[in-house]
């Protein structure tokens, strides 16, 4: 009887765990929690838990974890231990699934400290970039649009494709005409909204602080960026914020760029806004700092994926 009861509790623990993981994947909530490279892994885990739970429930114990009277596990024979497992593993997960708002509040974002330097972020992902031109919800700059001139991290091994060729076998950066040609051809890769604005992410602007090719590409362009509104020192400036995840939301850190407006704006703290304007690059010691000069600040819906990566 005790073994049977323990088996029920342990089986439910595994099945419940698998159910939560699969449900998060199917309904898309997992997108707010994990980097894409871990999402299929999470689904596989969910399926694995369900398979293990089903086998645990319906099959007879075929191997014993006890040798000469000494047992590695106590949970197969102890209903109390089984209840404890259910209470510690699955119940909190189900409670979290019901109660979580799938986001951090302002206090958590401020507490984590802003990433000020793009060199602290992983290099932009070429594969991800390649899909950006067709998907405006993705971080925006395709690598085809860029040269390999990470001017402030020259020692970094480049993951960028070769510089565009000018047709004579020389790289575009080797002469002025080639440079112009490169800039023109690069601009066509920039993803654009229906009104012609260049659609960027906060991370793109942050990267542009350390990548001259991006600065050249963005200068003079009207861009639009979506993020959360964080008030600044006065009503005519604020920061537009996104959370950047390395692996999961637990390691997410906020990235932001300052925005200057022509007049005061009335936006609720941490609400989602679309900022339309032009980026300006200012020298800041050895580095370059980007400031977005906003022409419009509009309330907007959260993007499908609130996290950048």
């Amino acid at each position: 009887m005790r073994t049977w009861a323990a088996k029920i509790f342990n089986g439910i623990t595994l099945l419940g765990l698998g159910g939560v993981l699969i449900a998060f994947f199917i309904n898309g909530r997992i997108d707010q929690y994990l980097h894409p490279q871990f999402r299929l892994w999470e689904l596989a885990g969910g399926i694995g838990f369900c398979v293990a739970g089903a086998i645990y429930l319906v099959t007879k114990k075929s191997m014993d974890c006890c040798v000469d009277g000494q047992c590695i596990h106590s949970n197969p024979r102890s209903p109390v231990r089984g209840m404890l497992a259910l209470g510690v593993i699955t119940v909190p997960l189900v409670a979290g699934a019901v109660l979580s708002k799938d986001s951090y509040d302002q206090q958590a974002i401020l507490n984590r400290g802003f990433v000020q330097d793009a060199r602290a972020l992983p290099l932009r992902n070429v594969a991800k970039d390649a899909t950006a031109a067709t998907n405006p919800n993705q971080p925006a700059i395709p690598s085809e649009a860029l040269g390999g001139d990470k001017d402030e991290s020259a020692s970094a091994p480049s993951i960028e494709p070769p510089l565009p060729q000018d047709g004579s076998g020389n790289t575009a950066s080797q002469d002025t005409a080639g440079q112009d040609s490169k800039d023109d051809s690069s601009a066509q890769y920039l993803p654009r909204a229906e009104d012609g604005n260049v659609v960027l992410e906060v991370s793109d602007l942050l990267y542009s602080q350390s990548e001259e090719s991006l600065r050249k590409l963005f200068t003079g362009k009207t861009i639009e960026v979506i993020g959360q509104y964080l008030p600044g020192a006065d009503k005519s400036q604020f920061r537009i914020v996104r959370m950047f995840i390395w692996c999961c939301a637990a390691d997410a850190r906020p990235i932001s760029v300052p925005v200057k407006t022509q007049g005061p704006v009335q936006i609720a703290d941490m609400s989602w806004v679309k900022v339309i304007g032009q980026p300006e690059f200012e020298p800041n010691g050895d580095h370059t700092k980007v400031v977005l000069k906003a022409a419009q600040v509009l309330p907007t819906d959260p993007p499908a994926e609130a996290m950048l990566y």
Partner: protein
Amino acid sequence: MNWFHFSWQNFWFSFLALAFEGLPFVLVGSLISGFIAAFVPSRVITRFLPKNRFLATLVSGLLGLIFPVCECGVVPVVRRLLDKGLPFSCGLTYMLASPIVNPLVAISTYAAFRGQHPELNTAVRLVGGYLVAVVVGLSVSRLDPARLLGGKAIPNRSRRRAALSIAAMPDAPDASRDVSAMQRVIGAIQLASDDFIDTAIYFMIGAAVASVFNTAVDQRIMLPLASSPVLSVIAMMLIAGILTLCSTSDAFIAATFTTFPIPARMAFLIFGPMFDFKLLFLYSGLLKKRTVIALGVGLFIIVGVLCIAFLPAIYANLGS
């Protein structure tokens, strides 16, 4: 309390993220453990190791290269290996080294430190982790495992004697009897499930504690420590202990602490996978509480000495 501001919203978000990322790793570790129990005769495991205890410990630190298990899943694997007859010093060395000395971590560390001498930092992390694990393993090699292991993890006497002589081990009666492959697979999954439940209880407690620290405690109280070579190393080890990150992903976080000197970030990357909040609980399923505490203190000192006394000179000589 200005330094503590708890919010359920932040807690649940961080807690679920850690659970979703970590639990599949725990499952994989448990499955490896279950399949080892069901399919791998102990003589195969012991065959990997030299008979000499010193050399066996050295080799155990490299087993992660062919058994790449992260720290979330390594405890059930080690527990099973101990049950299979692996000497405690070798098991401990493998448990500490495997989350660092494995190909996945090498790749992620290299990627995370792009532009920051990735080859050097990856090598320092792997070699440093290996050396620390071996030092700890050798330190316990002459101690009686029964004094260090928790009750459920102590191999029985006949097995323990054989294990310490690194001889081929008799397998569990069920493992050696004539059963079909399918029965063995089912048995492996059943054992893996029990392993998982044992391990996941501690993981979830650790994830909950880490989530509270991650979201409720003001992170700025630690930042002034960054300017001191000694305090920065200590602070980064404490942060690693609190953040409870997985070793396959922690390099991306460490690389962002650019205000901290590189030896301090290496302390984060070596100490964290060996001892953090979730491991405090996970290790409690394998080791006696006083052993866990002694292990934590010992690792803190060894990694601290390595990163304060030796790494700055190494980086200076190698031009980083």
